[in-house]
């Protein structure tokens, strides 16, 4: 499903990733961990094509990303649901619309949008805040909206970047349980997190980054 071959990524005078090799198969659930600034977000960005690798090849669902035409990028992204570390909620749209937009982009009709958005908000326990604006939500509530938006369109891959940074342990555990359920339906899930609690005893693969290097793999 996802293959990194000798991938490196440099920013100006900063090396974010160095010679990374790994594969993730369809239906897998994988954790990526490492200290602050180790390259977790960069690795996810390479997958959802927000950044291009400086060296090496990445293939996603059989596509070589560096041979992809620019106009196909949106369609590839529609198979990926992303929980952005910085949320990327639209401050001028309410919660319903923020989640609905993921479906609207895919051309889903109004009626289906409504039921699916409300379902998705229910899974993150925020159905009652459907008409609020992002600013009126607590940090953790905002984070759960982002999670709802990432899964509402039932993508084939979910990338979650520090999805529980603002959630208390119980809510966080609930989110991981949710990811596991989705994973059981065959959806590939990649979670970048520094929180060891999340992958402890999950029996899932954990890829460990440090300072841009892949330093090891274990089972959580």
């Amino acid at each position: 499903m996802i293959h990194f071959h000798n991938v490196s990524k440099h920013y100006d005078n900063q090396t974010a990733l160095r010679n990374i090799n790994f594969s993730i198969e369809k239906g897998e659930m994988v954790f990526i961990t490492g200290p602050s600034g180790s390259g977790k977000t960069t690795l996810l960005k390479l997958i959802y094509l927000a950044e291009k690798p400086d060296e090496g090849n990445i293939s996603i669902a059989g596509w070589e990303t560096n041979q992809l035409r620019e106009s196909s990028i949106p369609f590839l992204r529609r198979n990926i649901g992303v929980v952005f570390q910085d949320y990327r909620l639209l401050s001028n749209r309410n919660i319903f619309e923020n989640v609905a937009i993921a479906l609207m982009i895919r051309g889903v009709n109004d009626k289906e949008v409504k039921t699916r958005v409300l379902d998705s908000l229910k899974t993150v326990n925020l159905r009652h805040r459907v008409n609020s604006y992002p600013k009126a939500l607590s940090g953790g509530e905002q984070q759960r909206i982002v999670i709802a938006r990432a899964i509402v369109a039932e993508p084939t891959v979910v990338l979650a970047d520090e999805p529980t940074g603002n959630l208390d342990p119980d809510t966080a555990a609930g989110i991981i349980r949710l990811f596991k359920e989705i994973n059981l339906k065959g959806i590939t899930i990649i979670v970048a997190t520094h929180n060891r609690e999340l992958f402890r005893n999950t029996c899932k693969r954990v890829i460990r980054l440090d300072n841009g290097n892949l330093v090891g793999e274990e089972v959580g």
Binding site: E70, S71, L90, N92, M104
Partner: protein
């Protein structure tokens, strides 16, 4: 299809930022109103100066007792000239009558006159487009060569000053209108552009969620179109109320205003211009979308 969402998004966006959108709309409206006033002034100045050449004529004084064949010969030769519009024969008697009319209250100066001292003459009017100092000079030289023509007279100074007023006014007014219009269009465009800038975050989010170029662009362009058209309609309302509330009332008391031409149908172009401005501004503000 993305179209219905695009319209909904655009309308929502217009409503949510209503104050700043209203400001842009008013800016566009004002801009178009000013252009319209400028065009309207040019139109009227042009119409007014177009009539000036009609007042120009040349006088040909004929030899005494030129009649029949000789007179006809002169008239026909003149008619053949491309620059000539009308040829009018004025007998010495008619000329005296005209002179008396001109002198009006002072016409007792002619009372002592025994015999009519005036010659027969021909009044030439030139074609509007031919009225120019050069043509008049050429025609005068030609006419003098015709047998039977004694002397040619025309307001040389009058003509050249009229001519320079016409050309001068046209240059001034055209310069002003070109500068003004270019300026106003730039101002409107820049307003729309400033209005849409700093939405990069919003656009980036749409793209990362998998939106196509069309989906990202459509709401912004529709919003621009709405703002532009609204501005155009407002300026149309403005110009029509100006007509009914100012011009029409003034023309009742001051006759000069009756002469002003007001081509209302042309002003229907305003909403279209607004639409065009809005769309162009938004499109250029969005720039090239890269994924």
């Amino acid at each position: 299809m993305a179209a219905p969402y695009a319209f909904r998004f655009a309308f929502q966006s217009v409503l949510r930022e209503k104050w700043i959108n209203l400001l842009s709309t008013l800016t566009i409206a004002t801009g178009l109103l000013i252009i319209t006033f400028a065009v309207f002034s040019v139109y009227n100045i042009d119409a007014a100066t177009k009539k000036l050449p009609e007042k120009f004529f040349m006088m040909l004084y004929l030899e005494d007792n030129l009649h029949g064949q000789g007179l006809e010969n002169v008239i026909n030769t003149l008619r053949k000239d491309n620059a000539v519009e009308t040829v009018r024969y004025i007998s010495r008697e008619d000329a005296l009558k005209e002179l008396k009319g001109t002198l009006k209250d002072a016409n007792y100066v002619l009372e002592g006159l025994g015999e009519n001292p005036l010659p027969d003459s021909i009044e030439l009017k030139l074609k509007k487009e031919a009225v120019s100092p050069e043509t008049a000079k050429r025609l005068a030289t030609d006419a003098k060569k015709i047998k039977g023509v004694n002397e040619v007279e025309y307001g040389e100074k009058f003509l050249s000053s009229i001519h320079s007023i016409k050309v001068g006014l046209k240059i001034i007014v055209l310069t002003l209108i070109i500068i003004t219009s270019a300026g106003i269009i730039f101002v409107c465009y820049s307003t729309v552009k400033i209005l849409f800038y700093r939405r990069t975050d919003e656009i980036e989010t749409y793209k990362l969620l998998g939106a196509t170029r069309g989906f990202v662009r459509a709401p912004f362009i529709i919003e621009g179109a709405l703002i532009g058209t609204a501005g155009g309609l407002l300026s149309l309302i403005g110009i029509i109320s100006f007509y009914y509330m100012v011009l029409l009332k003034l023309s009742l008391t001051i006759p000069l205003f009756k002469a002003i031409l007001f081509p209302t149908n042309i002003f229907l172009l305003l909403p279209v211009t607004g639409l065009f401005l809005g769309i162009t501004g938004a499109t250029i503000a969005l720039g090239r979308l890269r994924f």
